[in-house]
Symmetry: C2
Subunit: 135 residues, 2 copies
């Protein structure tokens, strides 16, 4: 199974370690195409590649993916874009989020029939959510 | 001309007054379907409607739009989603942003061939950008 994992890069890297933990969980189920999302060397400045190259690479991966899993606690324009494109091409999409300071997830995500949203607190919760969703 | 204006709601309302000014500029060119984006009564808690109703209304408007104009300075998952969906259905898309603290716009937006990104500092800049883009 090809898994496209989406999470914030330029929107902010505060949850970077959580992304790494989620990627480790995802690797139990298949190939994570976007493993660099957890890379501690990638700051909010982004990757050392031209934006068009990043875009073209990620859109190829998105099309190759069997499922799109995203962590949406840190609001990210790029993650929203990927979810919108993924839904338009009929991909299966799961969004994971933690409630922080009572902030609410966008209605364009929670209100969409093509997106499943699951709330978690711990990585153990994520493990259970992924088991239910991917098995 | 039907204009879909997209900007942050639940992602944060710090730029709300700027959104209002942009909407005023846009109204010179056509009907702004999403005029509520500038409403001072809408906080980051969002609108007083069910998420599925917001989603369904906004997706109808997105399809009816001749052009999508968004303000992307505050990272927003919903705005990213709308841009992704709009691009998938072939809409003309312009993103406006101010550079704040050296933060960079997502490569999924700047790297996309279907999205034009314009940087501005003042509302006078926006006025000129819109004139060039919409006339």
């Amino acid at each position: 199974m090809n898994i496209y994992f989406a999470a914030s890069i330029r929107g902010g890297r505060a949850d970077r370690e959580i992304y790494s933990s989620i990627i480790l969980e995802l690797k139990k189920y298949g190939k994570v195409l976007t493993e660099h999302i957890g890379d501690p060397n990638i700051s909010s400045s982004g990757e050392e590649m031209a934006d068009t190259e990043i875009y073209n690479r990620d859109m190829v991966w998105l099309k190759e993916a069997d499922v799109v899993i995203s962590e949406i606690t840190t609001p990210s324009l790029g993650v929203g874009y990927e979810i919108g494109q993924a839904e338009a091409i009929g991909k299966k999409i799961l969004c994971l989020y933690r409630e922080v300071d009572g902030k609410k997830v966008s209605a364009m995500i929670t209100g969409s029939p093509g997106v499943k949203v699951s709330r978690y607190e711990t990585i153990q919760d994520v493990s259970k959510i992924l088991e239910d969703y991917l098995k």
